[in-house]
Amino acid sequence: MRDVAVISFAQAKNVRDAGAVNEVEIIMPVVAEAIAQSGLARSEIDFTCSGSSDYLQGAPFAFVMALDGAGAWPPISESHVEMDAAWALYESWVKIQSGHADSALIYGFSKASSGKLREVLNLQLDPYCVAPLGIDSVSLAALQARALLEKSAYSEKDFAEVAVRNRANAKNNPKAQLAGDYSVDEILAEPCLVSPLRKHDCAPISDGASVIVIAAGDIARRVCKRPAWIRGIDHRIEPHSLGARDLTVSASTRLAAEKAGVNQGPIDIAELHAPFTHQELILRDALQLKDDVEINPSGGALAGNPMMTAGLSRIGEAASRIISGQANRGVAHATSGPCLQQNLVCVLEGE
């Protein structure tokens, strides 16, 4: 395997509604910032890959106009996944491993404010047997949370503690949409949004974009003082049928973590893509993280959850702490689908 590292990360401020700016306008400054920070010229970057979803934009080919924001003239070698851009990073990493490229620009974006996200996500479900039932994304997560409460020792207080920590961490994240000091009692006194989940247990609906530049060995070393090396990256999917899996564990995260070698060394920080508090608990267990691991120093998805790029942002947040020297070895995670159906795990390390 070739050595490949994250050398640059930038993101737009996560906001509830970006208003009268379109996706291209959200992406363009973030791409420019990530490229400037990478030390590479746009023309020196061999491959470009993005992640987005047509259904969030309400149009076919959401990624097509976005090319204007990424810069595609003269023509570029480019691909797109209809997934979180963390998987675009995976595709780019594979491209570099195959020798077809030495560097890549990865971006993801969405403007979920254009539609009704909870209802839109219903369209991800089995179109014949499940989607027609009309169940929305928060209700599905609530089913999972209820199953976890019934099967494990976790309580709603544990959920609230996750919310408190993430919102407090987000105070140090200038791009966060939600940040602040809350107490567990305060949160538990709130009414449920969809029982047993309260508003604080759920990620906000966000507009945003994020961008990462990765590069192979010598290039990374030349342009970056302390690259965040990708030591392992793997992703796995589980059955879609909710009755065919145990919702209280994340078998795919566990397997991906094993393949990516998460526990082959001590972990300082973990950035977990958990749009709901109870999912962070499930993921922490699946990754077998020790108690001293700092989880979501950025505030995680609970601080801002732009669909299709919140997973890529987790990789970026972990990588930037390694690049800055605040951390040495970190794990980043991204998820897709209802109730953590698909998961990606990436291990990052300094020199």
Binding site: A59, V64, M65, L67, P75, P127, I237, H240
Partner: protein, 386 residues
């Protein structure tokens, strides 16, 4: 070519038709996947990863259908990727799958593409109203017709060329039992008298809306060599994109397409494409795109592509047979159409193309394009292991 050598060891398609009412979306994809596994002499457990491609999710009304299709495609516990690069997606998906082999990450990868157009209406799915943009209810034909008109003006091509392409591809389709449109009494007169849809594109010069899926199994060198059937070897693959609109962009002969062709031929060691390529499956959704792409790909000089068509050189018995399967004009399950081109090129060099086989084909090109003639994916495959 970079990385490990990759071979195509299994190819599976469904028949293409207007509506597969007998299967679900999952059933359709699984049918193609099972056909590819059977062709490769493999089982589900032999597959390391699954790469799915399809065109805009609105064609079926399922958001990110890879999530729902994971069960039917045996992906549980495996990595699964979903590619979407507009009309070129079928080709791009095959390229992503082969890159997973070339990188040394996996031994065997299953890749599946599909469209079940009968679930909705592609024309309207392509024409949703967007904020900040003028609303164009054009569909693909309305979008491409002015480009064709521009090609005719520039090249001085006579008007019958488009009809000639349609006639040739529809004759080829009669040799392909999987083709959607098999028009037994096809003739130039019949094409000429068909309704003009988007001047200069007539009804019979257009692709149909199809249901169908195409799948392939790709494997690393050692496994491909031991496969029960002869593999097709990938000599090179490339993708290129350029923005939809800007002043001075040549939409008739796009720069991205020319660069993509140059790149893929370079990797495959091809210096004289017309001489060294034995057949090509080119993405031709409207008849006139055959001469346009012949020029863009470098098989003909600019302005001269139509002469190759006119002289019959792209017919099954010509020196560069194009779209022997009947092409996109005969079967258009959009998300799969690019992969069908890639797979049909591979079938030819495997000597496994049935009645539409080009005798002795050793090297073939698979080509796909999408968006506003701005996304390109191509591969060159060979019967000979490099």
């Amino acid at each position: 070519m970079s990385g490990e050598l990759c071979g195509i060891v299994g190819i599976g398609q469904t028949p293409y038709c207007a509506q597969r009412a007998d299967v679900s979306i999952a059933g359709l994809c699984r049918e193609a996947a099972l056909n590819a596994l059977e062709d490769a002499g493999l089982e589900w457990r032999d597959v390391d990863a699954v790469v799915l491609g399809t065109a805009p999710d609105m064609f079926e009304g399922v958001m990110m259908p890879e999530l729902y299709l994971a069960d039917a495609l045996g992906a549980t516990g495996k990595p699964m990727l979903r590619v979407h690069t507009a009309g070129s997606v079928g080709g791009s998906t095959a390229i992503v799958a082969s890159t997973l082999i070339e990188s040394g990450i996996h031994d065997r990868v299953l890749t599946v593409t599909f469209e079940k157009q009968s679930e909705s209406n592609a024309m309207w799915a392509l024409s949703s109203k967007q904020p900040f943009s003028p609303h164009i209810n054009a569909g693909a034909g309305g979008y491409f017709a002015p480009l064709i008109r521009s090609y005719i003006r520039r090249s001085g091509a006579p008007e019958h060329i488009g009809m000639l392409v349609a006639y040739k591809d529809r004759l080829n389709a009669l040799k392909n039992p999987l083709a959607h449109l098999r028009i037994e009494d096809i003739s130039m007169e019949k094409i000429e008298s068909s309704p003009m849809l988007w001047d200069p594109i007539r009804y019979l010069e257009s692709c149909p809306s199809s249901d169908g899926a195409c799948a392939m199994v790709v494997a690393r060198e050692a496994l491909a060599k031991d496969a029960p059937k002869k593999p097709a070897w990938i000599l090179g693959h490339a993708m290129r994109s350029e923005p939809t609109m800007f002043c001075g962009r040549d939409e008739v002969n796009p720069h991205a397409g020319r660069e993509c062709a140059k790149d893929v031929f370079n990797q495959a060691g091809i210096t004289d494409p017309l001489k060294q390529i034995d057949m090509a499956e080119i993405y031709v959704p409207f008849s006139w795109f055959e001469p346009m792409w012949l020029e863009n790909l470098g098989f003909a000089e600019e302005g001269k592509g139509w002469e190759m068509t006119d002289e019959g050189r792209t017919a099954l018995d010509g020196d560069l047979p194009v779209n022997c399967s009947g092409g996109v004009l005969s079967s258009n399950a959009i998300g799969a159409s690019g992969m069908i081109r890639f797979a049909e090129a591979a079938r030819q060099v495997r000597g496994d193309a049935g009645d539409h086989q080009v005798p002795g084909a050793r090297t073939a090109l698979g080509h796909a394009y999408g968006g506003g003639s701005q996304f390109f994916s191509m591969w060159v495959v060979s019967s000979e292991q490099p």
